[in-house]
Amino acid sequence: MTVLFGTLGWRPQSLIPSIRSTEGLERVTFYHSDHAKSRTARGRVIEFCRTLGVPATAVELSDAFNLLQIVERIRADVRRELAGGIPLRFNIAGGTRLMSSAALLTCLLEGIPATYVHDETYEEIPLPLLRMTYADRLTPRQRAILKFLVEHRERAYTESALAKALGVHKATMNHHLRELLDKGAIDRVENPQDRRALLIRAVPGMELLVG
């Protein structure tokens, strides 16, 4: 049993090869814009699924040009399915560049096998992704620190305040912060109130990693 996700633009041919090729296809969820041609394509994909007896859910994106909003939406759906334990695959070929990028980003972060369909040959091409959660490349402690910084963006923390807030020894915190700094996940910025102190903050975009 497999659940197929996909992004759809104006051409149903970009998604249909994956519907055909997925073994044990349980259902299809795909995302499209509110453009009239996308809606027409949606109708054709749904009709094709009906002939195969496969349930299909079409999700119309209110803004097909907002990367973060699309990632958030797709990721929530993907995580729901992952929690059910059913294998997933994603066809990222259709839709706007942002829809396709958002789908790829979700696949990278959640470790979902992804394919695209060649524009002319309609051949399905698998992408070299590994089935792993990208955030797992951080240690559990590093993830916890980063998550805390992301969730408390409005507050500024020094290293010792952060150690206190998370109940970690200062030296341990220093070690983890160095690791996070090396990986480009956090920044140290000067405290405008006290030039001797440095404030720690998560760099933009890390919400996508630990969110």
Partner: protein, 204 residues
């Protein structure tokens, strides 16, 4: 490093927002004949263009990874903007940034930093033992045979089985039972990875 199609307006926000010493454009051959490219060249006379087939994701990925490695070899670090060019080029550049662990941005028009961890290569998650076993896995064969083959390369039985388990977990190998025997075969994903593993070996 920026992906480029025909319209320089998808590249300019990144040039304004991200500091750089050298500009490398990843673009299709026909993009280099456009007015947009000429205008970018006028702004950045020293820009270097890496020609890719913007409709072939695997080739775009290899070219982008090579360009990132080349930048590192020359002592710099790369930062990738994935806002221009075809969907395929954009996806390939994004994938390359995650593969190689370099900063990536989508700047069209607002800057969005993608959550890439610097220096963390995607394929570092695959152990050397798993890479060795992956190299021996061509077509369907019994797991026992594969483990024997790995032993001739100095990999112990337990380590070889663990490596095989890792390959299955990462979606690089499939296994099935046939008459009480475990058969394994490479997935389509592994075939794509083989090319990339070779890039890593070449760099090493």
């Amino acid at each position: 490093m920026a992906t480029f199609g025909f319209d320089e307006r998808h590249v300019l926000p990144a040039l304004r927002l991200l500091p750089y010493d050298e500009l490398v454009l990843l673009a299709g051959r026909s993009s280099l004949r456009t007015k947009g490219f000429a205008r970018l060249r006028a702004l950045e006379p020293d820009l270097r263009a890496v020609v890719v087939d913007p409709f072939d994701l695997v080739r775009c990925l290899e070219a982008t990874c090579d360009a990132i490695v080349e930048a590192a070899r020359r002592g710099g670090s790369a930062r990738v903007s994935v806002s221009g060019g075809t969907k395929i080029l954009c996806a390939a550049a994004m994938l390359a940034a995650f593969q190689e662990g370099v900063e990536a941005w989508y700047c069209d028009p607002d800057p969005i930093r993608l959550p890439v961890l610097r220096g963390v290569r995607l394929e570092d998650a695959v152990s050397d033992s798993a890479r060795l076993v992956a190299g021996l896995l061509r077509g369907e064969r019994s797991a026992e045979e594969l483990v024997h083959a790995a032993a001739t390369h100095g990999l112990g039985r337990v380590a070889a089985y663990q490596a095989l388990k890792d390959l299955v977990r990462h979606g690089l190998a499939d296994q099935r039972l046939d008459g009480g025997e475990v058969l394994v075969r490479p997935t389509a994903g592994l075939e794509v990875h083989r090319a990339h593993f070779r890039i890593a070996a070449r760099k090493g």
